[in-house]
């Protein structure tokens, strides 16, 4: 049905160049990405242009190696008595920016937590950089931003202290921090725009800023793979745009991203591939799309429900944001 096969985008994207910051340019002046011209048009050129942009650059070192950065095969996870993932297979290669979408309870958080070894597999296989997760030990290559863990605990901590804990994987157990460790923490704080708040209590920051502290914590280890679990949940629009700006810089650096999202929001322009889960199964894996519509499926973010039939989409509800390509256009494409 679609003129541009969704999967072709994913296939064409492993190589990421340093240039796509052009795409991110509107972010610099704080304009929301959804306003970006390509998405307004909803034209096939949107995806095509982005893919061309990325493909134009030189292949990054490491992308030639065919080993997936993160992969699950026939993964089945049971929490309590309930099967949460059923026969899920997914492979993320270097330089990809993969959005993991789905309604509440679809298993998207469980999938990334399985990849990180936080949830045991009932069946199938999970690998990081080619190594089965239970045997994986090179954790310095992985950065994790948990879902709304909250950056505060029973004892106050400064922004700098929390971000420093993200450097432990690189620093090594029982070693003193080196100058490089300190520089990495400062650099991570600068990346998320919180360098001037380093000495403040985390609890005095806004929700969005606290989320950025957790992102900086993951960045402090300079990971090759960054896994983010709903980084924009409950975060104000300004922080969401700041986050998209950070992601653009990471993509330029060649970091592979796996992002669990409830809605695509300002990240739309950076995502190279979208995977949609429904009731623990992958129902879409391919072309990225804006909110509301993913590769022939309609996500009703208000009702937290995924419909299988795009023609059944209630056009009236979809409207809130006229910037997005509507489901009807997708069907016609």
């Amino acid at each position: 049905m679609p003129v541009s096969d969704p999967t072709s985008v994913a296939d064409g994207t492993p190589a990421v160049d340093g240039a796509p910051l052009v795409d991110g340019a509107p972010l610099v002046d704080g304009a929301p990405l959804v306003d970006g011209a390509p998405l307004v048009d909803g034209a096939p050129a949107a995806d095509g242009g982005r893919t061309a942009d990325r493909a134009a650059g030189a292949a990054r070192p490491g992308s030639a190696d065919g080993t997936p950065v993160a992969a699950v095969e026939h993964a089945t996870v049971v929490l309590g008595e309930r099967p949460v993932l059923r026969d899920v297979s997914l492979s993320v290669t270097t330089g990809e920016v993969v959005a993991l979408l789905g309604s509440n309870g679809s298993g998207k958080s469980t999938l990334v937590r399985t990849l990180l070894g936080l949830v045991p597999l009932a069946g199938g296989d999970a690998r990081l950089f080619g190594t089965p997760v239970p045997a994986f030990s090179d954790w310095r290559r992985v950065g994790y931003v948990p879902q709304r863990a909250g950056a505060t605990t029973g004892v106050p901590a400064t922004v700098h202290e929390v971000v420093s804990s993200g450097r432990l994987a690189r620093r090594g157990f029982l070693r003193f921090p080196s100058a490089a460790d300190r520089a990495a923490v400062t650099g991570a704080l600068e990346t998320v725009g919180l360098a001037d708040r380093a000495k403040e209590r985390v609890s005095t920051l806004s929700g969005g800023q606290q989320q950025r502290v957790l992102i900086a914590r993951a960045l402090a280890g300079s990971p090759d793979l960054l896994v983010l679990d709903e980084p924009n949940a409950g975060v104000d629009a300004a922080s969401q745009r700041a986050f998209a700006d950070t992601v653009a810089r990471l993509v330029a650096r060649g970091t592979t991203l796996l992002v669990v999202l409830h809605e695509v929001g300002p990240l739309a322009d950076l995502i190279t591939r979208t995977v949609v889960l429904d009731h623990g199964r992958v129902i879409h894996d391919g072309a990225p799309w804006a909110d509301g519509h993913v590769g022939g499926y309609w996500i009703d973010t208000d009702r937290h429900h995924v419909h299988g039939n795009p023609t059944a989409s209630p056009l009236g509800e979809w409207d809130g944001r006229p910037d997005h390509a509507g489901p009807a256009k997708a069907v016609n494409r």
């Binding site: 990180l116 605990t153 420093s164 993200g166 157990f173 725009g193 000495k199 969005g208 914590r217 700041a242």
Partner: protein
């Protein structure tokens, strides 16, 4: 000072310093995990160990360390499993510990109410030189662990899953932290007693965090405050002839109240002057990047909603 002429008083003050340093050094991690009362539970369990010492004629300190360590590891395993029944399991352990202690002490031939009271609420002035050696060795080990491994212990208590994904040996450190909590309880048993030991682990931390911005500052402040309170309380117990645990903990609570009231007063003043300042001049946006600038207006609004 004339009280330093008494050997028992010198021993008491050394013991007070030891306990003042170790109790909050371990306690801060329990508070960070919002498990402040675990120290109390371990104290209950330690009582069974003390009783076992009396009953078998071995040193109560050694049996208490062993039993409390076993109990603390059990508590840690229950905690890490999660589960809805964890709460009940902890209750069983804690109350079983104290009941077992009272039962065993009553069965012991030399057991009596005087001994029991000393272990329950502290009898610092009866600290023997041999006790002091054991306390010194155990306390030094606990300090080495809690202060030396601070970045890793901070990480596992701040966000356990993140620490695991960072390759930190979470399970090992959790067990070691539980054991050092048990050791601390035993070390502090002489000074504040098993029923009050948790107070010295928690209250100085709660007091220091009223004024400190970060974790390191809270830890240093809590340890300093705890030493001061333990020393003052020990001297007080000598002059007032009261159990040392009672005088130390009452003092700690008083300092907490004073600091909390003062800190909230200072914060209110700051807020008022900040508000007055904002009325006069529009606050200049001195921010590093446009990201921060975009975020700034929401900073104040975001907090109350959370």
């Amino acid at each position: 000072m004339s009280i330093l002429h008494y050997d028992f008083m010198v021993r008491a003050l050394i013991a007070a310093v030891l306990v003042g340093l170790t109790a909050p050094a371990v306690g801060i991690y329990l508070v960070q995990r919002r498990m402040s009362l675990v120290g109390d539970g371990i104290g209950h369990i330690a009582l069974t160990g003390v009783a076992l010492g009396f009953l078998t004629g071995t040193s109560p300190v050694i049996t208490a360390v062993i039993v409390a360590a076993i109990g603390a590891v059990a508590v840690e395993l229950i905690r890490s499993r999660g589960g809805a029944s964890g709460d009940v399991a902890l209750s069983l352990l804690f109350y079983g510990g104290i009941a077992g202690g009272v039962l065993l002490i009553s069965l012991a031939p030399s057991g009596g109410n005087v001994n029991l009271l000393g272990y329950l609420f502290g009898s610092l002035l009866t600290t023997a030189a041999s006790d002091l050696v054991v306390m010194g060795v155990l306390g030094a080990a606990v300090l080495l662990f809690t202060v030396g491994l601070r970045p890793w212990l901070f990480a596992i208590c701040h966000d356990e899953e993140f620490a695991q994904v960072s390759g930190v040996p979470v399970r090992l450190l959790n067990i070691l932290l539980a054991v050092s909590a048990a050791v601390t309880v035993t070390v502090a048993m002489r000074v504040v007693g098993v029923l009050l030991v948790s107070a010295l682990m928690v209250i100085p931390v709660a007091t220091a965090q009223q004024v400190a911005r970060g974790f390191v500052a809270t830890m240093a402040g809590a340890m300093g405050l705890s030493v001061a309170v333990a020393l003052t309380g020990a001297v007080g117990s000598f002059y007032l002839d009261v159990p040392s645990g009672a005088s130390i903990v009452v003092l700690a609570v008083l300092v907490f109240v004073v600091v909390t009231v003062a800190a909230s007063g200072v914060r209110r003043l700051q807020r008022r002057s900040a508000a007055a300042g904002a009325d006069r001049v529009p606050a200049p946006a001195v921010l590093a990047s446009e990201n921060a600038a975009a975020d700034a207006p929401t900073a104040g609004a975001g907090v109350p909603g959370r």
